[in-house]
């Protein structure tokens, strides 16, 4: 490995280094507060390193990784998500757990895993990233082991994730068997005709594995339980970083093997997208648990993302990136409010706990409203621009049925997003937890972070041009562009 290789991998190295460093700090028996702050700083450093490596993009690190604009963009999102989760975690864990320090190590590891995924261009790297992420998540989900739901969620996630990993691995093995290559771009078949059933089977099994991670129908059933059972910050992380990384690698994989020309696969994906949008929205319809609502909503949103994904052209790439961005921001702010609202014993799950939030704490209520409206795709918010982008992509390539399904299902979705907002301005219950007073600094920081997220939602809704240009720029320096476009 050359110096340049190391240079290109700086963010990953920083992340793994941070994990080690935090571990050492824990050994030094430093307080939660210090660990939190130092991990915050480390996150910021890792995040800034992304800008630092801009100039050498795109860059191939051996056969395993490619550091290009697209990858860096997704890594940026992932680290950003880790950063936000980190900021919001202090109060949440301080109230609940005796030793919340290891949590930060795991957070770094998971971030690392998702980042590795986003940069990988090889089965081994893919597997590695996926497992770093997943194994970390097992622990994170069950982190608050005192709670019943945590353990239940943990074991469900563990069994299912391992189960799906097995599918993924078997699929990879089949493809490897068929093509003799583990690096994505080497397994490009000359023509679709020469492909055997074995290859398709392999691809199908990989879809099962990836489908689980993305939580699309029919592999969505775990989502709600895990979202509900996991600590709210972890849920936020699962909802964003883990899905973003997996989607990135899926995209990279498909572009590399030009999977868009395999009609059975694309047909499958189309069905999955359609069913995910419909089922996701329907499942959330009268759900009263906010975390479960967000879980089902994420199912639908993954469906939307697949709609953008399916056309498989440059615009679809941009749409996916843009939507991921808006989805990250939105989901993080939604969960952010949940985290802030959560009390000592339980998360603020039931939407009744949000009654009258508008009058009691307008700031949080506004941010949650923004998030909900954004998820619903109402103009003025990021979600609308994102959805607009997706619709444009779909229509440009003539995927009218998908576009129509997207529209109709998001109408169903409207109902439950509105229910959350409605809950916030009805009733008179005071549910603001008291401990906010104890951690004024962290509370303020948290609110600041949330406000920034809220502002970003609006900013993306009103003036998305900067981000769109930024994404186009990032994609220009993407390896995957040169190979197939």
């Amino acid at each position: 490995m050359s110096d340049n290789d190391f240079f290109a991998l700086t963010p990953l190295l920083l992340l793994s280094g941070s994990a080690v460093l935090i571990m050492l700090l824990i050994v030094a028996k430093l307080s939660h507060r210090i660990i939190q702050i130092s991990s915050l700083i480390l996150f910021i450093i890792s995040f800034s390193s992304l800008f630092y490596i801009q100039k050498i993009l795109p860059y191939n690190v051996g056969t395993l990784f490619v550091v290009d604009g697209f990858g860096v963009f997704v890594v940026g999102l992932v680290i950003f998500s880790g950063l936000v989760v980190n900021i919001l975690s202090y109060i949440y864990f301080e109230e609940k757990e005796e030793g919340p320090r290891e949590y930060y190590v795991l957070l770094f590891l998971c971030t690392l895993g998702a980042s590795v995924l986003a940069l990988s261009k090889h089965f081994i790297a893919l597997f590695l990233g996926l497992e770093i992420l997943t194994v970390g998540l097992y622990a994170l989900i069950a982190y608050l082991r005192g709670r019943n739901h945590s353990i239940e969620a943990g074991i469900k996630y563990l069994v299912l994730a391992a189960f799906s990993s097995a599918f993924l691995l078997f699929g990879m093995a089949l493809i490897y068997l068929e093509t003799g290559a583990m690096e994505f771009q080497d397994m490009i078949p000359e023509s679709a005709k020469s492909l055997s059933h074995l290859f398709y089977t392999g691809l199908g099994m990989m879809l099962v594995g990836v489908g689980f991670k993305l939580a699309v129908v029919p592999f969505h059933m775990w989502t709600a339980d895990v979202y509900q059972g996991a600590p709210a910050p972890v849920t936020a992380f699962i909802a964003t970083a883990s899905k973003g990384g997996v989607l990135a690698v899926l995209l990279r994989f498909f572009i590399a093997i030009d999977g868009f020309k395999f009609s059975p696969v694309m047909f499958t994906l189309t069905c999955i997208a359609a069913v995910s949008m419909i089922f996701g929205n329907l499942l959330a319809l009268r759900q009263r648990n906010l975390k479960r609502i967000l879980a089902y909503s994420s199912v639908a949103h993954m469906g939307y993302l697949l709609v953008a994904f399916i056309p498989g052209n440059l615009m679809s790439l941009q749409a996916v990136c843009f939507y991921l961005f808006t989805y990250f921001v939105t989901t993080l702010s939604a969960f952010g409010v949940v985290i802030m609202m959560s009390g000592k014993n339980d998360d603020a799950e039931d939407i009744d706990e949000y009654r009258a939030l508008f009058w009691k704490h307008p700031g949080q209520a506004c941010i949650l409203s923004f998030a909900m409206l954004s998820l619903a795709g109402i103009p003025l918010t990021a979600g609308f621009t994102g959805k607009f982008y997706i619709l444009a992509t779909a229509i440009q390539s003539g995927y009218w049925p998908l576009a129509v399904i997207l529209v109709l299902s998001s109408v169903i979705g409207l109902y439950y997003y509105l229910r959350v907002i409605t809950a916030m301005f009805t009733g008179n219950k005071n549910t603001i937890p008291e401990e906010r007073e104890k951690h004024v600094f962290f509370f303020r920081t948290g609110m600041l972070a949330l406000s920034v997220l809220g502002a970003m939602i609006i900013w993306l809704g009103i003036y998305p041009q900067d981000v769109i240009s930024f994404i186009s720029q990032a994609l220009v320096t993407s390896d995957l562009l040169f190979t197939n476009f």
Partner: protein, 103 residues
């Protein structure tokens, strides 16, 4: 490298193991057995990798197998920890009793 066993046979074995694993996961109620079955599935994949590597005469398959082993180990360790907790809380390892979250 001369292989006396054809790739097809090994793949068939891997496939069988995989299906066996699936069956195990689906029909067993005891969490430990479920975990075990998942391990079987993972190992089936590992086997498939080795076979594939063998077919192309590359070490990559075996590398992958080692990774799989490592990951399986990590997974099992966390899994067992969780199972302990479950037993602690529920006094049972019946997975069907663990369905508090639904809807």
């Amino acid at each position: 490298m001369n292989s006396s066993v054809s790739t097809e046979i090994v793949m068939l074995l891997a496939g069988l193991l995989f299906v066996l694993g699936i069956t195990g996961v689906v029909i067993r109620k005891n969490i430990i057995f479920m975990l075990l079955s998942v391990e079987i599935m993972l190992n089936a994949s590992g086997l498939a990798f080795i076979a594939a590597g063998a077919r192309w005469g590359q070490p990559d398959g075996q590398v992958m197998f080692i990774f799989i082993l490592a990951m399986a180990a990590a997974e099992v360790s966390i899994g067992l920890a969780l199972i302990l907790q479950i037993y602690h809380q529920h006094k049972s390892l019946d997975i069907d009793k663990l369905r508090e979250m639904n809807g």
